[in-house]
Amino acid sequence: MEQVKNKVIDEFANKDYEFGFTTDIEMELAPKGLNEDIVRYISDKKGEPQWMLDYRLKAYRYWLTMKMPNWSHLKIPKIDYQDLSYFAAPKDMPKYESLDEVDPELIKTFNKLGIPLEEQKRLTGIAVDAVFDSVSVKTTFQETLKELDIIFCSMSDAIKEHPDLVKKYIGSVVPHTDNYYAALNAAVFSDGSFCYIPKGVRCPVELSTYFRINTAGTGQFERTLIVADDDSYVSYLEGCTAPQRDENQLHAAVVEIIAENNSEVKYSTVQNWYPGNKEGKGGIYNFVTKRAICKGNGSKVSWTQVETGSAITWKYPSTILKGDDSIAEFYSVAVTNNHQQADTGSKMIHLGKNSKSTIVSKGISIGQSQNTYRGMVKFGKNAHNSRNHSQCDSLLMGDRCGAHTYPYIKVENNTGIVEHEATTSKIADDQLNYLKQRGLDEEQAVSLLVNGYAKEVLKQLPMEFAAEATKLLSISMEGSVG
C-alpha cells in the first residue's frame, strides 16, 4: 500500500500546471515602482473622478505607515514593492459591443482556460466578466441583466456610471485601514467586478468573473464589490489562473459583499493561480482580503472556496453577522502540494441576535507543503441565541508536509453556543482495507476516500461551476489518486 500511496503522491508531484501558457498580446504597462505618481497614473489611465483619486491617495499614504503582517504560519520571502508594475492592460482597449470584436488571442486564452465565453453565454447562461491582467475585457449577458435592473460590470465602469452606489459601499466592509494588503489594494486597484442586485430581484443567472495575470513583473489588484439589496438573491462565481513564470507575482485582491434585509449572496471561488514548480520556484503570492457583512435582518452569505493554486495563500473570507437572524456559511477545500504554503480560514463575527454560522474546512497537504487553517468565531455581547459550528479537518499525504489548525473562539454572552471540532490524520488503514476487501484496488480506494473527504464542500458549488471545479479538482486530487 505504501507503494501505491507513494505512486499517488509522486504522480501528483509530477503533474504539470495546465494553465501555464502566456498570451502574446501587446500590453500597456505602468513603470515599475510605487509612489503617489503611480497612483495618479492609474487613476488617470482609468479616467476616474477626483473622489476616487483622493480615496486612493489616502489609502496609499496610510499604507506607507504600515508593516507587512507576520503573524501567519507562512514563510514569505521579502517582497520588493518597488520592483513591481502596478498596472498592466491590453493596449488600446476599445469597448467591445460583441465578442467578435475581442482580440482573437484573448478569446484563445479564455478557451485554453476552459472558459469559452460564447459557449458559456449560449449554453449555460452565465454572465461573465473576464478580468485580464487587471482590466475587465468583456461582460456578457449584459442585456438580460439590464432588464432586471441588475448592474454587473467592471469596477471602472461602475465608478463612472454608478458613482453614488460605489461611493456608498466601497471600503465600507474592508476599509483601507484594515490591513497591509487591503491598504495596498485600495491605493492601486486596477479593476474588478461590481454587482448590484436591486430590491426584490432574484438574479436568474450565475454571475461570474475570471481573473488571469498574464504579464511578467506585474501585480494584480482587483477589487470586487457585491451589493444585494433587500429581498434579493445572487450567486457569484470567481475563477483565477496565471501563467508559469520563474519569478513570484503578487495578487492582492479585495472582495466586499453587502447583504441587506432578507437577501442572499452565494460566493464561490475556484482559485488555481500558478503554484510554482516542484522546487518551489515561482508562483503567485495570493494575499486576499474577502469580507461580507450581513447588514440586514435575515440576510445570508455563503462562501465556498476550492483552493488549489498559489505559492503562498493568505486568505480569510469572513462574515460580519450584524443583522438579527442572519446566516453565514464557509465551505473550503484547500489542497497544497510541493512547496506551496496556505494559511486560510474564516472569521465569523456575530453581532446580531439569533445569528447562525457554519464553518467546514478541509485541508489536504501533500509533498512538502504547509497547510494551515486559521479561523475566528466571536460572539459579541448582544449576539444572543447565536450559534456556530465549525469543523476543520486535515489530511496528510507524505511525511514531509504539515497541517496546522489555529481556531480562535471568543464568547461574550451566555446564550450563544459555539462548537468547534477538528481532526488531523492520514488516510486510515482500516478504511482502505475495508474498501479493498470489497473489491476496489488500492488506487480506487484512496481516490474514493479523498473524494468522500472533500465532498461536503464540493457539493456546495453551483451546478454551473461544477464542470470547471471538477476539472481543477481532478488535477489536484482525483487525478493524483488515479
Binding site: 504560519h73 508536509c401 461574550e412 451566555n414 446564550t415 450563544g416 468547534h420 471540532e421
Partner: protein, 428 residues
C-alpha cells in the same frame, strides 16, 4: 518598569547572592528581563491576559517571613501526608527545611537543598526553563527566593503523596518568586499534591516556575488546587521534560483568583511517553484565568491528552490555549485536546484556542471546543423528576466540571477538590 526591577536587583544584590548560589543564573535572568521586558496583550501568547493594570504596582521583594504564625497546615482539612512542606508568602516555614530518606529521596526547601547539594541543584536549575521564555520567567530567574525540591533516585517509589502548601496573606505589594524542581530518575513513582491559597486582603504577586524532570519509565502525578481570593496575582509556569516510557499526570483545579495564569510546557523527549493535563475551573466575580498548555511531541510513539472544563459567572473572564506540536519524525502520535465551557452570565466571557501544529503524517490528532449555557433539556429532565431548579443546576454544573478530573487517582484529593468545586458552584 524594567528600570525599577534593575534598581531593585542592584539594591538587594548582596542579599540575593547569599540566598541561593545562583549568581550567574540571576545575572542572566536580569539580562533577559531587560531585553524582553514584561509581556503585553499585543503579543500572540498574551492576548487574553492583560498585565498592564497590576504591573503598575512596584513589587518589592522580602527575604524572610516576618509573621509566620499562621498554621495553614491545619487548615487543609483531611489532607495529610507523612511529608509536608509548608510555604508562607513564598518562604519555607516550620524549619522543615530538608528531609533526607534512607532510600536517597530528598525533599524540602530548594534553598536548603542548594546549600547542601549545590551541584545537584545546579545540574537541573533552569534546564527545563532553558531560555527564560518570557519576562516573568526571567524575573523569576533573577529574584528566585525559595521553592520546593524533590529528588527521587532510580527504582524508588514514594508510596504516599507528598504535600506542598503555599499560602499568601501579605497585604504589602510584594512579589514571591518560587522555583520548584522535581527530579525523578528511572523507574520511579511519585505523587505531589500542591495547595495554593491566599487571603482576601493579600496583595502578593506570585511568580512561580516548576521544573519537572521525569526519567525513563517513571510516573509523576502533580495534583494542584489553586484557591486564590482577593487581589492576589499568580503566574505559574511549569516546564516538564519526559524521557522515554514516562508518564505525567497534571491535574489543576482553580477556584477563583484575581488574575491567574498557568503555562504548562511539556516536552515528550523519548518514545512511548504519555502526558495528561487536565483542568477544572469555576470562576465568578471579577476572576480572570488564562490556562495555556503546550505539548511538544519531539519523539515518535507518544500520546498526549488535554481536558479542560470551566464554569464562568458574573464578570469572570476565562481563556484556554492548547497547543500540540508534532515534529516531523514524531510518527504514530496520538494527541487529543478538549475544552468545554459553560458561561452563566451575560458579562462573563470565554476565549478558547485549541491549536494543532503537525509536521508528521502518521498521526491521530483531534480537538474539540465548545462554549455554551446549561443544557435546557437536561434541566427540564431533572426538574420534571422533582428536583428543584437550583439543585438541578448545581448537579449539572458539578458533574460537568468534575468530568475533567475523572483521571485523578488520589481519592482523598479528589474528594477535597470536589467539595471545593461544589461549594463554589453553590455561590454562582
Amino acid at each position: 518598569m524594567i528600570d525599577f526591577y534593575n534598581r531593585l536587583f542592584n539594591s538587594k544584590k548582596e542579599e540575593l547572592e547569599t540566598q541561593i548560589l545562583l549568581k550567574n543564573i540571576r545575572k542572566q535572568g536580569l539580562k533577559d528581563f531587560g531585553r524582553i521586558g514584561f509581556p503585553n496583550i499585543k503579543m500572540e501568547k498574551w492576548k487574553n491576559f492583560n498585565t498592564k493594570a497590576f504591573l503598575k504596582n512596584q513589587y518589592e521583594i522580602c527575604f524572610e517571613d516576618k509573621d509566620n504564625k499562621l498554621d495553614f497546615f491545619s487548615k487543609i482539612n483531611g489532607l495529610e501526608s507523612p511529608d509536608t512542606i509548608v510555604f508562607h508568602n513564598g518562604h519555607c516555614s516550620y524549619n522543615m527545611q530538608l528531609d533526607e530518606y534512607k532510600n536517597g529521596v530528598i525533599f524540602g526547601s530548594i534553598k536548603a537543598a542548594a546549600a547542601k547539594y549545590p551541584e545537584l541543584v545546579l545540574r537541573y536549575f533552569n534546564k527545563a526553563n532553558k531560555q527564560n521564555l518570557n519576562g516573568f520567567n526571567a524575573l523569576n530567574s533573577a529574584f528566585v527566593q525559595d521553592g520546593f525540591f524533590l529528588f527521587v533516585p532510580k527504582n524508588t517509589n514514594i508510596d504516599f503523596p507528598v504535600l506542598v502548601t503555599n499560602s499568601y496573606d501579605d497585604d504589602q505589594y510584594h512579589m514571591a518568586n518560587s522555583r520548584n524542581i522535581v527530579i525523578l530518575e528511572q523507574n520511579s513513582n511519585c505523587e505531589i499534591v500542591q495547595i495554593e491559597s491566599s487571603t482576601s486582603y493579600c496583595n502578593t504577586f506570585s511568580n512561580n516556575i516548576t521544573e519537572l524532570f521525569i526519567g525513563e519509565n517513571s510516573t509523576l502525578s502533580l495534583n494542584k488546587l489553586q484557591k486564590y481570593s482577593g487581589k492576589s496575582i499568580d503566574i505559574e509556569s511549569t516546564f516538564a521534560i519526559q524521557e522515554k516510557k514516562s508518564t505525567f499526570h497534571n491535574n489543576i483545579t482553580i477556584i477563583g483568583g484575581n488574575k491567574l495564569r498557568n503555562d504548562v510546557h511539556i516536552k515528550l523527549n523519548g518514545k512511548n511517553c504519555f502526558a495528561d493535563v487536565n483542568g477544572a475551573f469555576v470562576l465568578d466575580d471579577m476572576n480572570e484565568v488564562d490556562n495555556n498548555v503546550y505539548i511538544d511531541h519531539a519523539k515518535a510513539d507518544c500520546d498526549s491528552n488535554q481536558n479542560f472544563r470551566g464554569v464562568l459567572d458574573d464578570k469572570a473572564k476565562g481563556a484556554f490555549t492548547g497547543y500540540v506540536l508534532v515534529r516531523q519524525d514524531s510518527q504514530r502520535t496520538n494527541a487529543y485536546q478538549s475544552n468545554k465551557n459553560i458561561v452563566l452570565s451575560d458579562d462573563a466571557s470565554m476565549s478558547t484556542n485549541p491549536f494543532l501544529e503537525i509536521y508528521a503524517d502518521d498521526v491521530k490528532c483531534s480537538h474539540g471546543a465548545s462554549v455554551g449555557n446549561l443544557d435546557a433539556n437536561a434541566m427540564l429532565y431533572l426538574q420534571t423528576r422533582g428536583i428543584q431548579k437550583d439543585k438541578a443546576k448545581e448537579l449539572l454544573l458539578s458533574a460537568f466540571v468534575l468530568e475533567a478530573l475523572k483521571g485523578v487517582k488520589n481519592t482523598k484529593f479528589k474528594e477535597i477538590v470536589s467539595k471545593e468545586i461544589e461549594n463554589k458552584i453553590l455561590k454562582v
